[in-house]
């Protein structure tokens, strides 16, 4: 049973969706930063996909060098502020903190990171400037974290960069796809603005790239093209009743929450289908929007869920109920019909005659996203793997050498921090390609 009241104002929304990692105050930052041991070859750095020199930036906070600290962070990760807030730090840097081995709470690295980046952003401190114009142009398709990181890195090297975005606002999933209690819209856009001001990023929004003609135009006008297209809308389950009006995809639901805040309403009974982190986000947010019952239904056992343990716990603490070993069979106007399952040697079997119904006014499908296969297939010689993920080499270059790619479109769906790393690395690959120094 969910404990949240339906938010009817922005203030109530903010209270229900209170930030999981709020900004530290100076005293908190002072004491927390003093705890860092400054480990040699620190495990936290190794656990960070972007390899931020974490002990260094923490020591810089402690010695009052907040600008230097922010520089350390942004030099490794263009989305240093967003990542501090939304990274699953418990399984990355903070999970690797050596304090864990002695049952001492790990350093709150994510929040310290935000303490430093927030300082630079709030004071609008210029840390970077565009490189001298080298006369070369790169197009970036998709303004998510991979695209932004790629663009920033290229700008520092002197490339002219145009970022094409299909939606109204840039930043992709960072803005549209993250649970609202992890980061606010304002924080996402502030960081973008901060980067944009320093590096003159050129976003071309409401401009989807879809057709062969669009592609041909880009190929003719740019020296290289980066594909940061992410993954698409929620995939179809091919199930009876899936097209009913009270059935939505989790990605679309999360986007709605982010855009509408308290103006978004959920009915009394919600069923979320899936066992990944997106399912947890959707369930948790349904509860915070005031649904009376939220049931998380997963076709296998708890131990098989793809979601991080802490994400599951967060959903449960918001009042979400869970239903394991339940495979949805069909969706009806007033609920979902499930059949019980059991796994034998990892193989899922249905228990015949075990069908049961769960009432639902809203059904959220968090069962994976469709890939942009049909669009990507329009690009010549661009090879995809059997899951429609773009194939790249060590330089993040695609099989069509003019194209580079990173983020969800390559890894099939991972964290913002992975995309930020990919984008930066792809920029380095693009630079090598354009200067003919790529090693094949």
């Amino acid at each position: 049973m969910s404990e949240y009241k339906r938010p009817t104002s922005e203030a109530e929304f903010e209270s229900n969706f209170a930030q999981k990692k709020p900004l530290m105050n100076p005293t908190e930052a002072y004491f927390e930063s003093s705890r860092c041991l400054y480990c040699y070859d620190a495990p936290c750095i190794q656990a960070c996909p972007t390899g931020i020199d974490i002990p260094l930036f923490i020591k810089q906070i402690h010695t009052g060098n907040l600008t230097g600290s922010a520089r350390t962070i942004f030099e490794s990760n263009w989305l240093g502020n967003a990542c501090g807030k939304i990274c699953p730090t418990g399984v990355l840097c903070e999970g690797a903190c050596v304090y864990n081995h002695q049952d001492v709470p790990p350093i709150q690295i994510g929040r310290l990171q935000n303490y430093a980046t927030n300082h630079a952003m709030k004071k609008n401190i210029n840390l970077f400037s565009p490189g001298e114009d080298n006369g070369r142009k790169v197009a970036i398709i998709g303004s998510g974290p991979a695209g932004i990181a790629c663009a920033c890195e290229l700008r520092t090297m002197g490339y002219a960069v145009d970022i094409y975005e299909a939606k109204e606002k840039p930043t992709g999933l960072t803005l549209y796809g993250i649970a609202a209690y992890k980061i606010t819209n304002e924080e996402v856009l502030d960081e973008l603005e901060y980067l944009k001001n320093q590096l003159n990023l050129n976003f071309i929004c409401n401009h989807p790239i879809q057709t062969e003609a669009d592609i041909a135009k880009l190929e003719a006008n740019y020296d290289a093209i980066f594909l940061g297209v992410g993954i698409g809308p929620t995939a179809s389950l091919g199930m009876e009743g899936e097209d009913l009006p009270h059935v939505v995809g989790a990605v679309e639901f999360i986007e709605d929450v982010r855009m509408k805040h308290h103006e978004m309403t959920v009915p009394k009974k919600v069923v979320v289908i899936g066992g990944g982190n997106t399912a947890m986000d959707a369930a948790s947010q349904s509860a915070r929007l005031g649904a009376e019952t939220v049931t998380l239904a997963y076709r296998r056992g708890k131990e098989s869920m793809g979601a991080y343990g802490f994400e599951y716990k967060l959903a449960i603490s918001a009042g979400v109920d869970s239903l394991f070993n339940a495979q949805p069979v069909s969706i009806h106007s007033n609920g979902v019909r499930f059949i019980k399952t059991q796994a034998t040697n990892g193989k899922l079997e249905y228990i015949s005659g075990s069908e049961f119904d769960v009432e639902a006014d809203l059904v959220i499908k968090a069962t994976g996203q469709a890939k942009h296969g049909s669009f990507l297939n329009k690009i010549n010689n661009l090879n995809l793997d059997n899951k429609n993920r773009i194939i790249i080499n060590d330089s993040f270059q695609c099989t069509n050498p003019k194209y580079f790619a990173g983020g969800d479109a390559v890894n099939g769906g991972a964290e913002v921090v992975n995309a930020a790393y990919d984008g930066k690395m792809a920029a380095i690959g693009i630079d090598k390609f354009i200067n003919n120094t790529i090693v094949q």
Binding site: N25, T27, Y40, L56, T63, G68
Partner: protein, 444 residues
């Protein structure tokens, strides 16, 4: 990008960060790793006469959860053969021609000094540092601090050195002396090109409560060690200031040593006149990588203040370090507590009431732990703001309008100083003191 490079008495270095002569500079392996990590120079672990080291060599003072807030050692100069060290110096210079390699030396006779100077010059050292500071072991044999404590002897040896040295000579001083200017001046008069200080301070860091022996314990016994680490920085800064302000010494470059760990420490040493800094304990604690924090912080500081090189602010704090008698007696600050930030630990109250000037009260209403300043009693001592655990919660606010300036020296010159306690001009005459009843009110 600010230029961090220095020319220290003719020794060129890409930045002012040098490793002090100590265990981190015991081998070419370490010095090369250090240069690779970003250090600009290294003073090699002292070369000299053959020695034997003991096992168990270091002790430390841990303060709360901070390890090695103070650190001491009873290790002697290098125990590695001279020929190996010379070969490695040569090798380091081959890989790092633009970095500073300074050979620290400690021998006894004039002939030995002349010979070893020739040896390190042949190996390609950029400079020499004379170790007149080591306060344990070597001093018992008439070297190290035994020299540094006798200005006349120190001057003689500097003269021996200067007779033959072709490369810049730095004289390293011991702090185990009442007046640092005496050996400093002796070194300058002996012709030294530069000075460095401080070497370690004679110390006992603790006693083992089971064996009754001082740390570090060697088979049930111990000896005084040389104290260093963050705890000694204030002593080093004061001695540095004394040299840097002295009219006959101030034109001699000084390399600052003593508890340097962060960029703030570095800037403080530069502000008091050190044009290079030497670090040991921080590296023994965290490794060579610590230099990144120093470099980043120094660069940000210089960018923010608009300095192009370190000479732009070298010694900039020196004019502000004066004698007590020149301080403005009319300046008045009073503590102010930010009630919104206060967490009610009441450390400021008890520190003031028991430890200072009874100028803080806790309101009597039940449960209210937020203290209040009694402004008329507050002498502006800072203590409450120093013990407060919350950032920017207690601040010292100026109460005078800055228009009046009066010093003890000026009053003395004007014949206007109090000579009896009953004089209205005497400072303590109207000092508030609570009553006996107040003192004993909690007595059972």
């Amino acid at each position: 990008m600010p230029d961090l490079s220095i020319n220290f008495a003719g020794i060129k270095s890409p930045n002012p960060f040098w490793l002090a002569s100590a265990p981190p500079t015991n081998s070419g392996y370490q010095v090369m790793k250090a240069f690779d990590a970003g250090w600009g120079g290294a003073v090699w672990k002292t070369l000299g006469v053959p020695i034997i080291n003991v096992s168990s060599r270091y002790g430390s003072v841990n303060y709360r959860d901070t390890r090695m807030a103070g650190f001491n050692n009873i290790e002697l100069i290098t125990d590695r053969p001279l020929v190996d060290n010379l070969k490695e110096i040569e090798e380091v210079k081959k890989y790092f021609p633009d970095h500073a390699v300074i050979a620290s030396l400690m021998v006894e006779t004039k002939e030995q000094w002349h010979q070893i100077i020739k040896d390190v010059e042949n190996a390609g050292a950029d400079g020499i540092e004379l170790n007149f500071g080591c306060p344990h072991g070597m001093c018992e044999r008439g070297m190290g601090s035994a020299v540094g404590q006798e200005p006349a002897v120190l001057k003689t040896i500097v003269e021996w050195v200067m007779e033959v040295a072709q490369i810049p000579v730095i004289t390293k001083l011991t702090p185990n002396i009442s007046h640092i200017v005496d050996p400093g001046l002796a070194a300058v008069q002996g012709g030294t090109d530069a000075l460095s200080l401080i070497n370690t301070i004679k110390s006992i860091v603790g006693i083992d409560l089971d064996t009754y022996a001082p740390y570090p314990v060697v088979d049930g016994k111990g000896t005084n060690g040389g104290y260093c680490g963050p705890a000694v920085k204030p002593i080093a800064l004061e001695m540095l200031k004394n040299l840097a302000q002295h009219p006959d010494i101030k034109s001699t470059p000084i390399s600052g040593i003593g508890g340097i760990e962060t960029w703030r420490d570095v800037v403080e040493f530069i502000l008091l006149g050190a044009s290079s800094v030497q670090v040991c304990t921080a590296v023994m604690h965290y490794g060579f990588g610590i230099v990144r924090e120093m470099q980043s912080g120094l660069e940000e500081f210089m960018r923010e203040k608009g300095y192009n090189n370190i000479y732009d602010f070298l010694g900039k704090a020196l004019p502000n370090v004066t004698e007590w008698k020149h301080l403005n007696l009319k300046h008045k600050v009073v503590a102010e507590i930010d009630k919104d930030k206060c967490v009610g630990c009441d450390l400021c109250y008890i520190a003031c009431d028991d430890g200072a000037h009874q100028a803080i009260r806790i309101p009597t209403e039940n449960g209210n732990r937020i203290p209040e300043i009694i402004e008329e009693n507050c002498v502006g001592c800072n203590l409450c703001s120093l013990v407060c655990p919350v950032e920017n919660c207690i601040s010292m606010v100026q109460k005078d309008d800055g228009s009046k300036h009066l010093t003890w020296a000026e009053e003395t010159d004007a014949g206007n100083i109090p000579t009896t306690f009953n004089d209205d001009r005497a400072g303590g005459k109207h000092h508030f003191v609570p009553t006996v009843q107040d003192a004993l009110k909690h007595r059972k």
